[in-house]
């Protein structure tokens, strides 16, 4: 597979503020690529560079193998769905969707028919004569999508596309976006701060933190094998376990991530075994989440650990404990995943 977008050591600075600090990234043609990170981590900056709204202070960006340095946004084969949708208020929905065709000089008849097709694709047929202000948030989102796709770009950028929608609509749009991307076969690059969304939608994703890429990989790789403490804590829940015993062998020392659902909680001391590690503590909090129950346990020296037990009904009983109860936590040493510390700056 050839690469759709390639970043080589890209930096972006606004005055003294460093938005991106040496990004290396490859996004392959036809994949659904997620960019995940907290706000201010540089994910939107990254998208703006691909669209061509900003230019890197350092490093190079290639689109389909060609340098994009001197290519303005209107000559890039890339379209964007903006976070605020950026629909033009002085145009009708149809004019908004047909905008890209109009500026290319496509004749009126073809414009109408292609805009109509696009509106049909996002299931807004019949609303072409309305103004953006007359539509709901979800409908505007679809218009933005239709408008960006009408030019048949090879790459579609989506900046927090579902951020302004309520939960039900969000889940519905997640499914629709995925299937749309599969049908069209073009590269989708979408930015989100919602780790659940990133994991469920992306083929591959990059975790951003403070203008750097912490990790790239498939959702599963990132969840199962977080490479840094930041990824481990930002994507899903994590217990961070530090082992600095001078007695143990050196390869067993370091910082490890341990997913809470891999921690077993019991009210009796477990039987010692070669692969299992256990500690004891006092229950600080029990949170019922429906599908699972989350236990926060204070262990030695003021630290706390989390264990999650699935609500499996008759197949396995949930430990019935109250805050204050003494419990034991145990896990298999294979489930410990060694972390590289985030490079400190």
């Amino acid at each position: 597979m050839d690469s759709a977008v390639r970043f080589r050591n890209v930096c972006l600075r606004y005055g003294k503020v460093v938005a991106l600090d040496g990004i290396d990234l490859e996004i392959r043609s036809g994949e659904f690529f997620g960019i995940l990170g907290p706000s201010g981590s540089g994910k939107t900056s990254c998208l703006r560079l691909i669209a061509g709204f900003d230019r890197p202070s350092d490093g190079t960006i290639e689109l389909h193998g060609r340098s994009a340095a001197a290519v303005p946004p209107y000559d890039r084969d890339v379209n964007t769905v903006f976070q605020d949708y950026a629909l033009f208020p002085h145009m009708t929905i149809e004019q908004n969707v047909a905008f890209g065709l109009m500026v290319k000089g496509v004749n009126r008849r073809e414009r109408r028919s292609r805009a109509g097709e696009m509106l049909e694709m996002v299931r807004l047929e019949g609303l072409g004569e309305r103004r953006p202000s007359q539509l709901s948030g979800g409908q505007r989102q679809r218009v933005a999508l239709a408008r960006a796709l009408v030019n048949r770009p090879s790459v579609l950028l989506l900046d927090e596309p579902l951020g302004a929608l309520d939960l039900k609509l969000r889940q519905q749009m997640q499914v629709e976006l995925r299937s749309l991307q599969r049908t069209l076969g073009i590269t989708f690059i979408f930015v989100t701060h919602d780790q659940g969304e990133a994991l469920s939608m992306s083929d591959r994703l990059a975790v951003f933190n403070r203008g750097r890429v912490e990790q790239t990989g498939t959702p599963r790789e990132i969840y199962e094998q977080p490479s840094t403490r930041f990824s481990a804590e930002f994507v899903g829940d994590s217990n961070i376990v530090e082992r600095r015993d001078p007695d143990t062998r050196s390869q067993e020392q370091g910082v490890f991530s341990l997913r809470p659902e891999k921690v077993h909680l019991s009210t009796r001391e477990p039987v010692a075994d070669a692969h299992s590690i256990s500690v004891t503590g006092e229950v600080a909090d029990v949170q019922f989440h429906g599908a699972s129950v989350r236990y926060v346990v204070s262990v030695s020296d003021g630290r706390s650990m989390t264990a999650v037990a699935g609500n499996l009904g008759s197949r396995a009983e949930l430990p019935a404990v109250e805050p204050g109860a003494r419990v034991w936590l145990s896990w298999n040493s294979d489930d410990l995943h060694r972390l590289r510390e985030s490079e400190s700056r």
């Binding site: 060609r66 001197a70 290519v71 303005p72 000559d75 000089g105």
Partner: protein, 313 residues
């Protein structure tokens, strides 16, 4: 990239220019700024500078010719008692006008900001905006009709049997005169009338920004209405008053038409500048007089900036 190929030649050129500018944002900025800056910088600032330079020239008393050597002689002339008198008179008038218009403006602004809603608010707003924008001369002219000896004020006071009061008012030394239209009282009234909208709007803007909750909080804490007004509303409206006073003060300092049409024969600063540059032909002295309002206003503006008045503009 491929799409650019299909475009007609004219559009191709547009694209190329557009791209060139987009890749050089500084050049684009410069292209946008050059025309307005050239106009304002050369025509406006240039001539202003040329004028101020001339205040350092002097006039030869025998030939009446301007001597183009730098000297402070014109400024020493500015400090003569007769000239100082004019400056002080103008400043006193500006201060009095500012004070009076803030007193008259406040209730209007307060009513607009706190009590008028919907249609009433639009009507009030237009009623204040229209005089601000309608003809200055026509409005001055209206007062010539009103204040004339045979005009409506004389008629009204006579009808109400207050004729003797008017005469008493006019017999006050300095501010009185043979008729209202040739007295300082008349000049003062017209100044207040003309600049009043400039005072109302900033006060209204400042009051609009006082949230209702603050006033309710004050009442809730046990302050009677007049205390709330004095300790809460008035201090918050003060930047608006200062912003308005920038206009009333500056405009009164420089105006030479109102005192020329309605007022006594004693001159104001603007009139002196007009006469010195015109009939008297003494440009250096006129320029030196011009420095006075500039200096006064820069001091005033920097003080106002410190009081936060610019947020209310």
């Amino acid at each position: 990239m491929a799409t650019a190929m299909q475009l007609p030649a004219k559009q191709q050129l547009g694209r190329r220019v557009s791209t060139a500018l987009l890749l050089r944002p500084r050049l684009l900025l410069a292209l946008l700024l050059v025309p307005p800056l050239l106009w304002l910088g050369v025509i406006y600032l240039g001539s202003m500078f040329a004028l101020l330079i001339q205040s350092f020239f002097s006039i030869d008393e025998f030939t009446g010719m301007i001597q183009r050597t730098l000297t402070l002689r014109t400024y020493t002339e500015l400090l003569r008692p007769a000239h100082l008198d004019i400056i002080l008179r103008t400043a006193a008038m500006a201060a009095a006008v500012t004070l009076a218009s803030s007193v008259i403006a406040f209730p209007i602004a307060y009513f607009m900001a706190r009590y008028a809603t919907g249609r009433a608010k639009t009507v009030f707003y237009l009623a204040v905006m229209l005089p601000l924008w309608s003809s200055y001369l026509v409005r001055v002219y209206a007062w010539k009709l009103i204040l004339a000896k045979e005009g409506i004020v004389t008629w009204l006071t006579a009808e109400l049997g207050l004729g003797s009061w008017l005469d008493a008012l006019l017999s006050i030394p300095i501010i009185g005169g043979t008729a209202l239209s040739v007295s300082y009282i008349g000049t003062f009234t017209v100044f207040v009338y003309i600049w009043l909208p400039f005072m109302i709007l900033p006060i209204q803007a400042a009051l609009e920004r006082v949230p209702q909750s603050i006033i309710e909080a004050s009442a809730d804490l046990g302050a009677p209405p007049h205390r709330t007004f004095r300790n809460v509303i008035l201090p918050l409206a003060f930047p608006g008053v200062i912003a308005g006073s920038i206009f009333t003060f500056s405009l009164t300092l420089g105006d030479y038409i109102i005192p020329q049409i309605i007022g006594s024969s004693r001159l104001f600063l603007g009139q002196v500048v007009y006469i010195q540059q015109g009939t008297a032909g003494n440009i250096p002295l006129a320029a030196a007089f011009c420095v006075v309002p500039i200096a006064v206003m820069s001091i005033y503006l920097s003080a106002a900036k410190r009081l936060g008045a610019f947020d209310a503009l």
